[in-house]
């Protein structure tokens, strides 16, 4: 592999505490190194910003519900198709882009790793086929556990070791990365026409509560010592007044400590927090409770969050929170699709327009930004749009612009039809904090990499780490002429290296790189009971055999990268 040296750029690397110093970054054989030989190819980054490749901690980019969105929304692709060009295939779509466009757009923005946030285990093969067809970026997927019959059965009796053995088996069978829980218990209740709106609502038949599921999954996760913590979409998403449910969920972490060899410190990652920080009793007195949530998060060192910023676009909502999507289609009357996944989960899909003329949408926009601006530790608060739920991931540069520029926020607030409601029902207008490039690097690189337990590998520019390096056309020495320049710089990177291969030059794709599928191989003590339970459930309940369930082999995972965990002792 060839050598490269990126010279004279302003480097921002939280893993080494580098805050914009002029520094050369050397790349050899796919890794960052101290120095390279004189024959290394030089990239001139004078007057430009250099960061590690960004890390996406939560996006819906592959799998059956994403594809349901693609299939039932041909209008999302209208006028978006780009013809084949160089090493790029034809690609299109806006809120639910094709797999190819997903890879290209992430790479062009300087993202080199992305995590699919909700993999239905039964459809892991589909998820992996789409991941395989998403070029350039490394990807992993979180299987969903919060409504899984095995988990509900084991946790009802507080069987942590059995839950852990089942998790280890499922991660191996589906080539999953982490333990995801979506509306714990609520989605199973949805199969009975019900929901769990608080953490103490019992799940029908199983007679277990969301609190017990969440606590149990956290314990099992730490029992195994997985790289990532439990990744939770709590109950009661998207309803006025739901911040109390969110705080109740967060309080379940009290007294819990992370136990792993990956440098991860949190026991719970709370995702798309914007959707869970609502006050008020209805859509009229709907208000922000971002402060209440961030007061807790700022103190709780064992919690990380991502924001879920509303980008004010027409998008496609999709979640394994089946009852929520039904609730949403009743509100906006747009087309609804629902997918039940036997024994495991269920998902819904509904298009949604976040209009700047609707006060609720404008307040949601403000809440997402408040979370980022109120975060005292940017290493524990990450930028997401819960793609495509609050907006497409291609809007990250715009979110970064709003976080970095009070002027840009002010312009948007003034453009809202119900400006007074945004000012009165949130605190966004009173916040003058502007995030620095260093803080942005924490929120999009070093932070999510640490939360995922990948901090020795990605998210930084230390020698020995993967050579995922991005150069942005942004000079931190010069004052920002207009906030839109920030957005333009982050939208199309000047240069992107992925594992030491240049994949983007001048904002255009130049190589499809060498994408990997990252998964977690957790070894546990033999557990005959769990193995027997799995066999029995496949014989009695599943509509497919165990042999057709597992994702194995080159067809599904052509280039695997396993993170080893030993939980046998």
């Amino acid at each position: 592999m060839s050598e490269f040296i990126i010279k004279n750029g302003h480097v921002f690397d939280p893993t080494q505490g580098i805050k914009g110093d002029k520094k050369d970054i050397a790349i050899k054989d796919g890794k960052i190194v101290d120095k390279v030989s004189g024959s290394a190819k030089t990239i001139d980054a004078k007057g430009k910003t250099v960061m590690a490749g960004a890390v996406e901690i939560h996006a819906h980019v592959a799998g059956p519900k994403v594809n349901v969105g693609r299939i039932y929304r041909p209008e999302d692709k209208l006028f978006t198709y780009m013809p084949k060009k160089g090493s790029q295939r034809m690609a299109g779509g806006f809120s639910i882009p094709t797999t190819f466009k997903t890879g290209y757009e992430y790479a062009k923005m300087g993202y080199t790793t992305a995590m699919e946030a909700a993999m239905p285990p039964l459809f892991s093969r589909h998820v992996h086929e789409e991941i395989r067809d998403t070029p350039i970026i490394d990807e992993g997927a979180y299987p969903v556990f919060g409504n899984n019959w095995f988990v509900l059965d084991y946790l009802k009796n507080d069987e942590i070791e059995n839950t852990a053995a089942y998790i280890a088996w499922l991660l191996r069978a589906t080539k999953g990365y982490a333990v995801k829980s979506v509306n714990p218990g609520g989605t199973e209740a949805w199969a009975w026409g019900l929901n769990c709106l608080s953490i103490h609502d019992p799940v029908p038949y199983f007679d277990i509560t969301p609190a017990e599921i969440t606590k149990g999954l956290m314990k099992a996760n730490e029992f195994l010592g997985l790289p990532h913590s439990l990744h939770i979409h709590p109950n009661n998403l998207g309803n006025p007044g739901n911040y109390e449910t969110t705080l109740d969920t967060l309080r379940l972490t009290e007294g819990m400590k992370a136990k792993n060899k990956f440098g991860r410190e949190q026991v719970l990652h709370l995702t798309h927090t914007q959707f869970h920080s609502y006050g008020g009793t209805n859509w009229g007195d709907f208000e922000s409770k971002a402060k209440e949530i961030m007061d807790f998060v700022n103190k709780a060192k064992n919690v990380t969050i991502d924001t879920g910023n509303v980008t004010l676009d027409e998008t496609t909502t999709m979640t394994a929170d089946g009852p929520f999507e039904h609730h949403l289609t009743e509100l906006n009357h747009l087309k609804w699709a629902n997918v039940d996944v036997e024994l495991e989960t269920a998902a819904g899909v509904v298009p949604y327009i976040y209009s700047p003329n609707i006060s609720v949408c404008a307040i949601q926009w403000a809440i997402g930004l408040e979370l980022g601006l109120m975060a005292k530790d940017p290493m524990r608060c990450y930028i997401t749009t819960d793609h495509p739920n609050a907006g497409p991931f291609t809007r990250y540069p715009r979110v970064i612009k709003w976080l970095m520029s009070a002027k840009a926020r002010e312009a948007q607030i003034n453009a809202f039809k119900h400006k007074d409601k945004v000012v009165n029902q949130t605190s966004i207008a009173g916040i003058d904090r502007e995030l620095s490039l260093y803080e942005i690097a924490q929120m999009t690189r070093a932070g999510p990499a640490k939360s995922l337990g990948l901090s020795s590998m990605i998210g930084g520019l230390k020698p020995g780490m993967d050579a995922d390096v991005v150069v942005y056309n942004f000079n931190p020495d010069k004052p920002v002429a207009k906030p839109d320049d920030i957005e333009a710089a982050f939208q199309r990177a000047a240069c992107v290296f992925k594992s030491g291969v240049q994949v983007v030059a001048d904002g255009e794709i130049v190589s499809n790189g060498n994408k990997r599928t990252i998964w977690v191989d957790a070894k546990t003590k033999e557990n005959p009971q769990v193995m027997r339970d799995i066999q029995e459930k496949f014989l009695k309940f599943y509509s497919m055999t165990q042999a057709n369930y597992e994702s194995i082999g080159h067809h599904f995972i052509p280039n695997p990268y396993a993170i080893e965990v030993d939980a046998r002792s």
Partner: protein, 266 residues
Amino acid sequence: METVTITMKNPPQLYLEADNVTPDKFAGKSASQIAELHVYEGNTTSTLGKYFEVAGSAGATAADTKIVVKGDVSKVKYLGMKMSAGELVIEGSADQYVGAWMSGGKLLVKGNVDAFAATGMKGGELTIEGNAGNYLGAAYRGDWRGMSGGKILVKGNAGSDVGMYMLGGEIVVNGNIDVHVMTHAEGGKVIIKGNAKSKLGGQLVDGTIIVFGTIDVMMPGYKPVGEAELEIDGVKAKFAHFIGDTGERKKKRKGQVIYGNLYKKL
């Protein structure tokens, strides 16, 4: 107003996608510049000039530009797509998506048009002297936003699914109409001077359908509420009045339920 005439001289083997043939795209351009605008034939991109002879020159703005399309364009799609002002006259028949998403200006087709004409139309006037195909003034595939403004006149017959997901504006069909009229509509008006077949206003939330001729089969979700006298194009007549679709979600205004209206001439 300046006039540009484009004449088909080298008909395409496949269907030609000519989304640049609008006063908006022609405005401010000379004949040779217009000939350089792109068209697609299958998966190849080429220029308008390869297929058409371009004469005259465009006005400075779309409003000052008139385009006359001559020759056989029955295999040309997207003529007048997204036009916002000016005039477009098609002397023969055209393929699909004529005037799709148009928001202003005048578009006249002297022959017939195929399906999806005026898809998502927002404003302006579309006149079709011949027959219209299916999905006239409807929404794009999968979309819920059909024609929302402007006026369409079809002097001949119209196909099926006219005004699907219509939100506003008016469609007048002088001849007969095929099945499915204003399905899922939330506004707007369709006037049928000839006969209709069946499934008029299925799952219609709001909007108006007026039929002068016969209706083969009425939808079961429509309820007769008496008679009404209406004046259409200066002619007064008595109509049977139905409301519906009673099986579909309904909006409320000031506590009153708003129904869609179907009138059939007595």
